[in-house]
């Protein structure tokens, strides 16, 4: 027999925990958060450096304290959090199956909020050739190995990527007494805040190799070197025993895929409108599954909107109306949300998240519907870092005006 729940939130990261807490505040009775890990909190659980909670909690805290604060807040509001509870199947008719120590459980929720997050692409997914050896990490695995499991890492590391998360990897490696011998990016400069970069350069003396790609990881049993190629085609070997592949995010969309929800090819996550509703009227999404990847506070604040939309659905107040889709032209690879429900209010934090994978030639972003320019804004566009486009223009969208395009001016 399937257990009925009013709202099932899948994933107890910042987005899911915030959504569940908000649902309780909106008066929804039975709110269950399914979390497949033994401890709730999502990625911040093992991200032991400060930089969390700024926009949502208006505090500056480290990952684990941030995670604990969100868990406590949700529990205090009456949210049930099921840990070690792994959602494995999702039928088209809405029936959800999960595995836990108690066996297989069937759930029949009235609404679902998907908040399964995002992960970094590992080495094989980037088609980096060479040997299958020990010593290859993503930042996610590295942080857990260092902070949670206290495992030995190595002595000399190459960090692949130079975006925010790459600097987070740098701090972790430093904590584990691993010397970073090179930081490698295909771009012509690093993509984090100047302060992070100069801080790292001065403190850890990390040589940054720009316009350089990783050809192969070499070794017999564990990593012995990586082969790098610069933009002139010259190859060189760097000796190291650790390689950390950072960034290059992909949404954790596999569960969404099983339920038949429409996905956006750009973000890889579910396609949503500004109310964070997916192609299924009772399924909503929040967090990095929608925009891989933003900071945790931004992911968390999605939860508030997703919760409000879910509550409206539960009380029969869902808005219906014309939907207009938003497309992006290169160099943009995605926008989130990707649809405007005309007349239905603003997206989370009154902005759209925009993504580029190359440094663009201009900073002017233009929003256009047909021949009509709705809005333009100058933005700092940096690959591997979301840019926030103001959303005021959605009140002037013409329901019959066809798709909206976002392009470089």
């Amino acid at each position: 027999m399937a257990e009925n729940v009013d709202a099932l939130v899948i994933g107890a990261g910042p987005a899911g925990l915030t959504a569940a807490w908000a649902l309780k505040n909106l008066g929804i009775e039975n709110v269950l958060v399914a979390e497949r890990e033994a401890v709730a909190g999502g990625i911040p659980r093992h991200s032991h450096h400060p930089g969390y909670g700024i926009r949502d909690l208006h505090r500056f805290m480290n990952g684990p304290s941030y995670a604990k604060t969100l868990v406590t807040r949700a529990k205090d509001a009456g949210v049930r959090i099921a840990n070690n509870f792994s959602v494995t199947d999702w039928e088209q008719d809405g029936l959800i199956t999960a595995t836990s120590k108690n066996g297989r459980q069937l759930l029949m929720p009235q609404v679902v909020i998907l908040a399964t997050g995002a992960r970094e692409r590992p080495r094989p997914a980037r088609l980096v050739a060479g040997n299958r050896v020990r010593g290859i990490y993503t930042t996610g695995e590295l942080q857990q190995a260092v902070y949670e499991r206290k495992l030995p890492i190595g002595t000399r590391a190459v960090v692949v990527g130079a975006e925010h998360v790459s600097f987070s990897a740098l701090m972790t490696l430093n904590h584990a007494d691993v010397k970073v011998v090179a930081m490698v990016t295909e771009h012509h400069k690093h993509q984090s805040y100047p302060a992070f970069y100069f801080g790292a350069k001065v403190r850890y003396q990390v040589p940054l190799r720009t316009t350089t790609s990783v050809v192969s990881v070499n070794g017999t049993d564990r990593v012995e070197s990586v082969t790098l190629r610069d933009n002139g085609g010259n190859e060189s070997n760097v000796e190291c025993d650790v390689v950390v592949f950072t960034g290059n995010w992909i949404a954790d969309y596999e569960l969404a895929q099983r339920s038949g929800i429409t996905r956006d090819s750009g973000t890889t996550g579910p396609l949503v409108n500004q109310l964070l509703r997916t192609s299924q009227p009772n399924v909503f999404a929040a967090g990095n599954i929608l925009h891989p990847v933003t900071t945790a506070d931004v992911a968390a604040l999605d939860g508030v909107i997703a919760a409000r939309s879910a509550a409206e659905y539960l009380t029969g107040r869902s808005l219906l109306g014309n939907t207009v889709s938003i497309n992006v032209a290169p160099p943009f690879t995605w926008v989130s949300p990707q649809q405007v429900l005309v007349g239905a209010g603003m997206p989370p934090r009154n902005c759209f998240q925009l993504w580029v994978t190359e440094f663009p030639s201009s900073s002017l972003v233009v929003v256009q519907q047909g021949t009509q320019t709705l809005f333009s804004q100058r933005l700092r566009l940096v690959p591997g870092r979301p840019a926030e486009l103001k959303s005021d223009w959605i009140s002037s969208v013409d329901p019959a005006g066809g798709p909206i395009q976002i392009r470089l001016g």
Binding site: P124, L127, N131, G140, E141
Partner: protein, 456 residues
Amino acid sequence: MKFDVVVIGAGLVGSAIAQEFTARGQSVCIVEKSNDVGNGTSKANTAIWHTGFDAVPGSLESKLVGRGYFLLENYAKQAGIPIVKTGAVLVAWDEEQLASLDGLADKAHKNGYEKTKGLSQSEVRNLEPNLSESALGGLLVPDEGIVCTWTTNLAYATTAVQAGATLYLNTKVVGVNSVPDGMEIQTDTHQTITGSLVVNAAGLYSDDIHRMFGHQTFSVTPRKGQLIVFDKLARNLVNHIILPVPSSKGKGVLISPTVYGNVILGPTAEDQTDKTDTSTTQAGFEFLLAKGQAMLPGLVTNEVTATYAGLRAATEHSDYQITFHLDQKYICVGGIRSTGLTSALAIAEYVAEQLFIAGHPIGERADILPAPMPNIGEDFVRPYQDEVAIAKNPSFGEVICHCERVTIGELDQAFDSTIPPCTLEGLRRRTRATMGRCQGFYCGAEVAQRLTEAKK
């Protein structure tokens, strides 16, 4: 130490032979230089369960693959090794290939395989709607299938050990010496192991061992095969194994579902001299992706889960190099190039039969049951789906590797098994933990810690 039989190499072939001899009441020792069984060519192949329809008619390989096909099916079912009869569609992509299909059907017939069926262009399309438009026709081989190579190898070795065989891991054979009652094996661990009979099942190094016995009848040229494993979401793009028309250069690049629910593309065929170089290359990836794009355009846009390469023990001869030197108390089972997963049980049976015929006392075969293997295939109930298993042991309800849905119960089972893993690689082959799309982003650290603790 003295044994009836000493087997050099714990790959599929050596492990199957060890199992055969233990079942015949012989005292057996397996000497393996690696830290695990099945850690050479046997861990990195295409994992096709071949009918042998395209073997060289009349060859020993043809006979043993045909026989091995049936033996493996029975064995896998008894041991709980994932095996699935998907069938294969051999696809012709040009007129020349189309014209050669009749010849292939004829060859299958000569190999004793009668069930091939010619397919028109539209029949191919019906069976495999996602193939590229340029598929002109094909040949259906309904009995080809897929199997798990890791648990197959592990089952042979485990069954042998449980029946009394001694397994020396991390022990490399460096020389041999004739002694009055057999052959003495020298190892890099300074152990002296004597066998009344020595079997060389050293795979890529079978020629080196053969030379230690004074024979130079073949030499192994490693032929690298690189493969790309695609995400499980690609699985419903194909129903059968998609085979190319074989050419003189080998079997060519195929697309196949795996028993774990992924799709593989490969292998390449690159001759090299280094027997240890199993690295993948950018050129290899580019070659395979172009092939994949031409055959199944929807495939290559999927995420890549893993890449790997294996080395076939190719020799200057087209057939297996199985020779008996009973005057030297020595049997060579080398050059088992590209069909050994299917044929290993038949090879073991053949070796025993030949010995029997030669009058060597080898005993009756007892009916021993294969050691049960944990199910790591998707076509059967996995522990995380198994109410009964979880009720008995709740740790089968604790998923640790989320991509492959491996539970803590399965890790513990591997740690407590007859041949426990001593590396992460070994654990991966037994459970699939960390082998999925995230490659350990979520669970890698915890799995590593559990392995470290289990080894203490």
